[in-house]
Subunit: 155 residues, 3 copies
């Protein structure tokens, strides 16, 4: 094993305006409580026997594996949203599946879509679903905005 | 060193249909045999003295470094393909070079192109090539499809 | 902690022509002195108490965390540029913020913009800035070119 497999997960989301789209993205990370870390994007599995934590203390500058959806937009008045969902199988030794989705759409629609994606992905594995968890956030763009939703994996 | 340097590599590819492009991508990962892991995308070197393995058992949810090409498409009837190639130098203490390519094109053309890319990249290093290995996959889109080819690095 | 937190940083940039945009990107990495490594892209923090190094010896094929901006272009005669900046706060226990920017524009404009982005990002944190460091590179495209600027984190 090259990297240690994570043992906890944390679902979080945030949105922000910013000077540029990257600043808005950075602001959205801060709103989500993970703004001073180095996110390493990965695809998109919740390891079996991983425990949910409602809060995670990440050292400044830590390298943090994360599955996320994000969207940025500089069209004033546009609604944007990002969401993530995890489908957990009844079989507890099998991984959970994380799905990510973002669009110029409402939180309600984005969250419903990403939950359906997680459901379909678990069906594809031929596994019965025990539970689907999700988080999503919506943002009304003023000048330049970002919406971000994620599953952070940690130890 | 922050991360351990990998000691083995595994070439694999897969294709799939799916409910959304992300579900199709997820299905392609499963078809490639690495569907229940957390892929961490990296650019694109095969460490020297790395050994090829024809099969790799990755724990569910493991963080896995991988170089990959992928393409998704929701145009029924379109052919898509993804390929990767590794150029190995005669000098065995020098890294191998991985290249990735995908297009709305046939497997044959994509594989030929990505092999040429690896060849050119090794030329750029002024190194004589010992061998080029490649893998590629083609998919005919029905509703929403993905093609994926990769070099997985592992220990 | 899943990954070790880096203790040094190195700012570097490079540009290149290439057979394809990916070959040009690969050439730009070599011009920057980090061409035979596996870059793992991350967002974008310089951990507190990290020390700058002017040179870093990375083993071939090592997995290297890096924040970077890059741009590729196959329009002959086009100028492209990429830059990164780090804003360091007066509070030395607080992380530095890395920003990345690239455009079909001159080095001067890209570097000014990315410095401003880092400044705005530190303002958003309500922190006084001690210093901003930046690096940027410009490239005049002949056939197919790439410009790349990065902050490499290492131990």
């Amino acid at each position: 094993m090259i990297f240690k497999t994570p043992t906890t997960y944390h679902m979080t989301s945030g949105a922000s305006e910013g000077f540029t789209v990257l600043n808005a993205f950075d602001g959205a990370l801060m709103a989500a409580g993970i703004g001073n870390t180095n996110l390493v994007k990965m695809s998109s599995i919740c390891p079996p026997h991983t425990r949910e934590v409602s809060f995670v203390t990440l050292p400044h500058g830590a390298l943090v594996p994360v599955a996320y959806a994000s969207i940025t937009c500089d069209k004033p008045g546009q609604v944007i949203a990002a969401g993530v969902a995890i489908a957990f199988p009844e079989d507890e030794d099998h991984a959970g599946l994380i799905m990510e989705y973002s669009a110029q759409d409402t939180r309600e629609l984005v969250e419903a879509k990403v939950r359906k994606m997680a459901e379909e992905g678990m069906k594809m594995r031929g596994k019965k679903i025990k539970q689907i968890k999700s988080v999503a956030v919506e943002h009304l763009v003023s000048q330049c905005g970002a919406a971000f939703a994620s599953v952070v994996l940690w130890d």
